[in-house]
């Protein structure tokens, strides 16, 4: 084969460098996307500062107008910190990913799709309808994904899906089992 001595190995080295560089760029881009998604999820949950592209439009079931953003914020009723509870259940990996009995129904776990259905239709993974006080949201797929990503990264002591049926602290238990 004609060619300069060592040209084959040079090409291979260049290809390896190109491959690694591409991999680093893609990894960096994915990390950036993940970070953006988490920021969006946090903004959607907290609802502040109010920004039109970072708000969940929601209304009470049966009503014909959306609530103002400040009345529909997740953070008004929910906490995302393990060990705390508000008017509604705490939302984090420990309460979402674990098999828990909710609202008198059988044990169930959340995943992104079932969280999205709850936001839009008010039906939990065990097919139990949530409290009427919880708005029904016009959430896009991207908003659902962002909210899910942010909520489940709030790791608690019970973050492993393979853990046995969870035991909640009293405040979390009371909020989760409050009458609908």
């Amino acid at each position: 084969m004609n060619g300069r001595p060592g040209s084959g190995s040079a090409y291979r080295a260049a290809a390896a460098v190109l491959l690694v560089s591409t991999g680093l760029i893609v990894a960096g881009w994915m990390a950036h996307e993940r970070h953006d998604r988490l920021l969006l999820g946090q903004a959607l949950f907290e609802g502040s500062p109010p920004q039109p592209d970072r708000q969940l439009a929601g209304r009470i079931a049966g009503h014909d107008r959306d609530l103002p953003p400040e009345a529909a914020r997740c953070a008004n009723c929910h906490t995302s910190t393990p060990g705390t509870a508000g008017f509604g259940p705490a939302l984090h990996a420990g309460t979402l990913v674990q098999a828990l009995a909710r609202r008198g129904g059988p044990p169930s776990t959340y995943e992104e799709a079932s969280l999205c259905r709850l936001l839009r239709e008010g039906i939990d993974p065990a097919w139990v309808m949530v409290n009427q006080a919880m708005p029904r949201y016009d959430a896009t797929d991207a908003q659902c994904a962002a909210l899910w990503a942010w909520l489940v990264r709030q790791t608690g002591a019970l973050a492993s899906p393979s853990a046995p049926l969870a035991t909640l602290n009293p405040s979390e238990h009371d909020a989760l089992h409050a009458p609908a």
């Binding site: 103002p68 009345a71 529909a72 008004n76 009723c77 508000g86 008017f87 006080a133 409050a178």
Partner: protein, 195 residues
């Protein structure tokens, strides 16, 4: 044998009635108040600092009333938004009777002085027909008993709307979070009854 069957049937009937009562009590008391119940003598302070009896606030007006407290971050913002929506619909009509009013009554009189109430009304853009008041602390239990407006949980009160006629009588309790259009329809219907 006949007597034994009769006793078994009676026991079953009693048990069923008790269960029904428990189920009914698991939900808010809602519906028409028959006969309408005159508001008790309860002193309150308005958002503009005036003190007067609740009867004076209600008399000669048809009123939609809600329970709230300014420190509530869960359901009260939704209730505020609901009354803001009702007010908007009233104001959008060519001629709404001036004696239709909205009243937000605090269940936390120790914290909700007239300034806190005024701030709460401002937050929701309340106009002249929407007022707020706090009852005297010593009258709070009697007031909640009259309305049957207590609820277990962080917010401690129902999200019902209570409709009072022009004679200051409680005529109807809605279910929780009634749509604004429905509150308006009920106000109109109650006002029309008085004519």
């Amino acid at each position: 044998m006949h007597r034994r069957e009769l006793l078994k049937a009676s026991a079953a009937a009693v048990a069923t009635a008790a269960l029904s009562n428990q189920v009914a009590q698991a939900h808010n008391v809602a519906g028409a108040v028959v006969p309408p119940a005159l508001v008790p003598s309860i002193r309150c302070r308005l958002h503009d600092s005036r003190e007067l009896l609740l009867h004076g606030l209600l008399h000669n007006r048809t009123t939609a009333l809600q329970l709230m407290f300014t420190g509530c971050s869960a359901v009260c913002p939704i209730q505020g938004a609901l009354f803001a929506d009702v007010q908007q619909r009233l104001d959008a009509r060519p001629a709404s009777p001036s004696d239709l009013q909205l009243l937000s009554i605090s269940i936390d009189p120790l914290a909700d002085d007239h300034r806190a109430l005024a701030g709460w009304l401002r937050r929701y853009g309340a106009g002249a027909r929407w007022r707020a008041a706090s009852p005297d602390a010593q009258d709070l239990d009697r007031w909640l008993d009259f309305l049957q407006g207590r609820q277990a949980g962080a917010d401690r009160h129902t999200a019902q709307v209570y409709l009072f006629d022009r004679r200051a009588r409680l005529a109807l309790r809605t279910t929780d979070f009634p749509p604004a259009g429905e509150v308006l329809r009920l106000l109109d219907a109650l006002a029309a009854q008085a004519m």
